[in-house]
């Protein structure tokens, strides 16, 4: 049995702090001291993939290069995720602070925030706050500058290497890896790319220390996480919760009493049916999530849910690699034909194999994760797909 935590709300991300205090402290620390503190905290990326942040910073710091970049991934496009918008709206200075700290840690003077086009309305306010921030860090003694770049409505640009391509003025098509961004990222330079919430966490860790930070969450999922809760819930919204709770605890808090499934991690995540609520841990040791939690009650057709996700992926696939481009289309056509009775229900098994193939053969995270939602919905709600 995995360790689970009681559900517990915390208030660290949106808590107002004096950024000058943390940044002054960071300014007196050596890059190695900063990286060690982040490594010690066990912080993992909050965008969904969960790569250890300290390791990312360490790898980038070891690169010898004149120019390095800190890129903030604010291309929050995963269906059901809206926490980064809220963070930027309410505490943007903590995001800027995190980027400045990362800059000091890896030896970078240039930060870029890639903001999705859908959030362009935030830009005037963000720019104004950034002006004040630049003045403050200059006074402290940092040599670091942040700039904004806007997306234009492409989900795939949330994939780190597609995001670089987009900043470079190209189609947002993911690159082959390796090389990884920490050695060859934006404009071919060593780059740290972190999610909005990850950067704020680095500020929290420097403020309170890694020892205190680790008291939150579990051994494998330290800290808290901002969850975007939507769907069939009486209280949709944004909640900061300790990692490591069971999905049952979560549903007891947010469900409407009739929850039959929760999609954890957005369209690219997993669908967990009621019978698995108690045994599912929300965290890196269980089901990881970028924060998207969508609840479905028994009035919902899981066929419609799956169909909606597949339409989403079919439209958002960049089309570069065949497993994803053709795979998404065939999965969509396939479930439609089973639903209409044009194909036998056993055809679903073939489609599941296709989804597995995409997991192995697709070039990037988009194509590789279509199978998560597909297989977990087909496996647990097979009769709803067929009839």
């Amino acid at each position: 049995m995995m360790e689970t935590k009681k559900i517990s709300k915390v208030d660290l991300i949106f808590e107002h702090i004096d950024p000058r205090e943390v940044l002054t402290k960071a300014h007196t620390m050596t890059p190695k001291e900063i990286i060690d503190e982040i490594l010690e905290s066990g912080l993992k990326g909050r965008g969904g993939a969960g790569f250890p942040t300290g390791m990312k910073w360490e790898l980038c710091s070891e690169e010898k290069a004149e120019t390095k970049y800190i890129v903030c991934n604010a291309d929050e496009g995963e269906p059901g995720t809206f926490k980064d918008r809220e963070i930027l709206d309410r505490v943007a200075y903590k995001v800027y602070s995190g980027m400045t700290i990362a800059g000091k840690a890896v030896g970078s003077k240039k930060g870029i925030i890639y903001l999705r086009g859908e959030y362009k309305f935030l830009l005037p306010q963000l720019r104004m706050e950034l002006d004040g921030f630049h003045k403050m860090i200059e006074e402290i003694g940092f040599d670091f500058e942040i700039d904004f770049r806007l997306g234009s409505g492409a989900y795939i640009c949330g994939e780190e290497s597609a995001l670089f391509e987009s900043i470079e003025g190209k189609r947002g098509e993911p690159r082959n890896k390796p090389p990884y961004p920490t050695s060859k990222g934006l404009f071919g330079k060593p780059t740290v790319v972190n999610n909005v919430e990850t950067l704020v966490n680095s500020v929290i860790i420097l403020k309170y220390g890694s020892e205190k930070y680790k008291l939150l969450g579990t051994r494998f999922s330290t800290g808290a996480k901002v969850f975007s809760v939507s769907g069939d819930t009486p209280i949709p919204g944004i909640y900061e919760l300790e990692l490591g709770m069971s999905l049952l605890e979560f549903v007891n808090e947010f469900g409407d009493g009739d929850t039959k499934a929760v999609q954890v991690g957005g369209a690219a995540g997993f669908c967990v049916p009621r019978k698995l609520f108690a045994s599912t841990v929300i965290g890196f040791e269980g089901v990881p999530t970028g924060g998207s939690m969508k609840l479905f009650n028994s009035s919902r057709s899981m066929y419609n849910v799956l169909h909606n996700y597949l339409e989403f992926f079919t439209e958002e696939s960049c089309g570069q690699c065949t497993p994803c481009r053709v795979g998404c289309q065939q999965l969509l056509k396939g479930v439609e034909s089973v639903k209409k009775g044009e194909s036998k229900s056993t055809y679903l098994n073939e489609l599941s194999k296709l989804a597995d193939t995409m997991k192995i053969a697709a070039k990037c995270g988009l194509g590789q994760s279509v199978g998560n939602a597909f297989n977990s919905i087909v496996e647990n709600f097979r009769e709803e797909i067929i009839y």
Binding site: E76, G77, E78, P79, G80, T81, F82, D84, R85, R116, G117, E118, Y119, K120, F121, R149, L150, G151, S152, G153, A154, Y155, S166, I167, E168, G169, K170, R171, G172, E173, F187, S228, V229, S230, G231, D232, P236, G237, I238, Q263, A267, K294, R300, N304, V305, N308, Y309, F312, E315, E316, C318
Partner: protein
């Protein structure tokens, strides 16, 4: 085309003529002209010294960089799962009623274009839509009528 030439030149002046400035330049054109005309893309290619195919290839990748004429106000209704569960269809129907167009069309006045889009990050306040850059949330038929009326009189 005098106007387009000038706009492109101004944008190149602001952002610079490097390839990495292609997106901000294209975004700037869409902001002013609502879409990227062939002439505009050719002009950008000339200014940045890249092929027109490169410009079109990049533009056509991004759903917000329209390469066909759009109205002054582009309405994008979210169609992803939560909005779809919370009444996206009624939103579309209300807009189609009021504007007398279907999804994908532009009003004859050239004022409104009605489109659908994927998740725009307002699932907790669904259903939602964007009009140009402004989000509108927790939509009802009544709200939509008011919003569109406001835009008609702008």
């Amino acid at each position: 085309m005098y106007q387009t030439d000038n706009l492109v030149k101004d944008l190149v002046e602001i952002h610079g003529c490097g390839r990495e400035n292609l997106l901000p330049i294209l975004q700037g054109i869409v902001e002013k002209h609502n879409y990227l005309s062939d002439d505009a893309m050719v002009e950008v290619a000339r200014e940045l010294d890249i092929s027109a195919a490169e410009v079109y290839g990049t533009a056509s990748f991004y759903s917000f960089l329209d390469t066909e004429p759009r109205g002054k106000y582009v309405i994008r209704v979210c169609k992803t799962i939560t909005c779809s569960m919370k009444g996206k269809q009624e939103v579309i129907e209300a807009l189609e009623d009021i504007l007398k167009i279907k999804v994908g069309e532009t009003t004859s006045s050239g004022l409104f274009t009605l489109l659908e889009t994927n998740c725009m990050g307002w699932c907790h306040k669904a259903p939602a839509m964007l009009i140009n850059d402004t989000p509108y949330i927790e939509l009802t038929r009544e709200k939509i009528v008011e919003i569109i009326k406001d835009y008609m009189h702008k």
